[in-house]
């Protein structure tokens, strides 16, 4: 069965191959996504089961879930790898490659719905990820001071808060979630 997605916002196909129904692993689980760019999708041959395909509520979601800002921050961190001592003309230290890697690992754990990250470097060669959210009018900062240690700062306009510790520690993760609205998965 082949159907055109554009002309079939909802399609229910009944009676498909029971061999495949009995082997959901063979079709990679019982649920998977087809690209929104797809124009056609070929369903399994019909004979005795049920396949349901629905495209209701097709409001584009991509704009809210783009990871472009995260990608840009990663690219900027990588660009710091070429910086030498005195890269700012005022005696700044050269960036520490291990800290740059720690910042990259952190960025890769971000979700697209987190506040917008941007990457910068301080005079001690430590990478800093800054977070802004115009809607929530707050500012957050994560400074990488060792491979595992970070210093976090958050400002909501009315109050400021600060914590330093292991990025894997409960206190730091809670601060990230509560103050900077970044919840990291374990």
């Amino acid at each position: 069965v082949t159907q055109n997605l554009a002309s079939n916002p909802r399609l229910v196909v009944q009676h498909w191959d029971p061999e495949e129904a009995a082997h959901p692993r063979a079709i990679k689980g019982n649920s998977f996504a087809v690209s929104s760019a797809a124009q056609q999708f070929v369903l399994p041959r019909a004979n005795g089961g049920t396949a349901i395909w629905a495209t209701a509520l097709v409001s584009a979601i991509d704009s809210a879930l783009t990871a472009t800002d995260i990608d840009h921050a990663c690219a900027r961190i990588r660009s710091f790898e070429n910086f030498d001592t005195d890269w700012d003309g005022e005696g700044a230290e050269a960036p520490n490659p291990e800290l740059l890697n720690a910042a990259l690992r952190f960025l890769r754990r971000l979700q697209p719905w987190h506040p917008t990250p941007s990457a910068t470097l301080d005079a001690y060669g430590q990478p800093v990820i800054e977070f802004r959210d115009h809607d929530a009018s707050f500012f957050g900062k994560v400074r990488f001071i060792s491979q595992t240690q970070v210093a976090l700062f958050a400002s909501t306009g009315r109050e400021e808060s600060y914590i330093e510790g292991d990025l894997a520690s409960a206190d730091v993760l809670r601060f990230l979630s509560d103050q900077i609205q970044v919840t990291l998965q374990p």
Binding site: A21, A22, P24, R25, N30, F41, G48, W53
Partner: protein, 288 residues
């Protein structure tokens, strides 16, 4: 040529339950992200460790008959958005496979919570409130709720031969919610009905009763069995624009699900025979 109507679960017949919060129009990026952050901060504590982003079309494929997985509600097909969920190993069609047993979907137009693990209403409502409260509070800072929906999917399977399955042993012949023709029908059938009714706390209430008979087989049992599924969907609409609109509050909206549950239970009881109600303990208020 004997058999009995057996519920899909040991203690009750509930295959899955879904609760839906629908917004009147699509939320913008800022609102959606705010909701997602609230859900994200809560997800691990709620034991929904898997996050999946659906930015394309979704295709669900499964064997005929009971599916031990979270399924879309009648009102909502799978949405484009983010799903927080938990998978477990379960038997589907007689084969062990990984299925989503609990899902919390967040999209621009709706929030949908679905679970196949139903024990008691009090526990379900506590969990629903724990999931919805932070997200709905974030949403209500810039949006309204157009309707709430609670949808129960119940299923019974006849243990004997298909020909011996008597629908009247399961469903009341005099129930006004089931079409009379189904009791004489030996082949498969549908009985779908719906109506708007007056409901306190809402502008109006939609009631949907969808009863379907199927003959199913599993990988371990190739003998067809008659299965009857009952979807009880109760949906409260709210006036969200104009003079009649009221300011909405998260606890009030969550409490409204209690009213949906009570209405659903009364309707379900009206459909079942006393024997069936006894079998699933409904006479003892298991669903309370």
């Amino acid at each position: 040529m004997t058999g009995t109507w057996e519920p899909i679960r040991e203690a009750h017949s509930i295959e899955s339950v879904a609760a839906v919060v629908q917004f009147p129009s699509a939320l913008n990026d800022a609102m959606l992200r705010k909701m997602l952050r609230a859900a994200d901060a809560n997800a691990d504590k709620m034991n929904l460790p898997i996050r999946e982003t659906m930015t394309g079309f979704q295709l669900n494929i499964g064997p005929t008959g009971p599916l031990a997985a979270a399924v879309a509600t009648v009102d909502h097909a799978p949405m484009l958005g983010v799903v927080f969920k938990r998978n477990e190993i379960a038997t589907v069609g007689g084969l062990p496979t990984t299925v989503a047993v609990e899902e919390f979907q967040l999209g621009r137009q709706a929030l949908v919570y679905t679970t196949v693990h139903y024990d008691r209403w009090r526990l379900f409502k506590e969990r629903l409130a724990a999931l919805l409260t932070p997200v709905l509070s974030a949403a209500l800072s810039g949006a309204n709720v157009a309707h709430l929906r609670l949808e129960y999917r119940d299923r019974f399977i006849f243990s004997g031969e298909v020909d011996a399955a008597d629908t009247a042993d399961l469903l009341r012949v005099d129930s006004e919610l089931v079409a009379p023709h189904v009791f004489a029908q030996k082949q498969m059938w549908h009985s779908h009905t719906g109506m708007f009714v007056v409901a306190p706390g809402a502008e109006r209430r939609l009631v949907q009763i969808l009863v379907d008979a199927q003959d199913i087989k599993t990988a371990t049992d190739q003998t067809p069995r008659r299965s009857i599924s009952l979807i009880t969907g109760i949906q409260d609409f709210f006036q969200v624009e104009g003079l009649e609109s009221k300011e909405q509050e998260t606890p009030v909206l969550i409490d409204q699900f209690e009213a949906l549950h009570r209405a659903s239970k009364e309707l379900f009881k009206k459909m079942l025979t006393d024997v069936a109600k006894q079998r699933i303990g409904l006479l003892e208020e298991v669903r309370s």
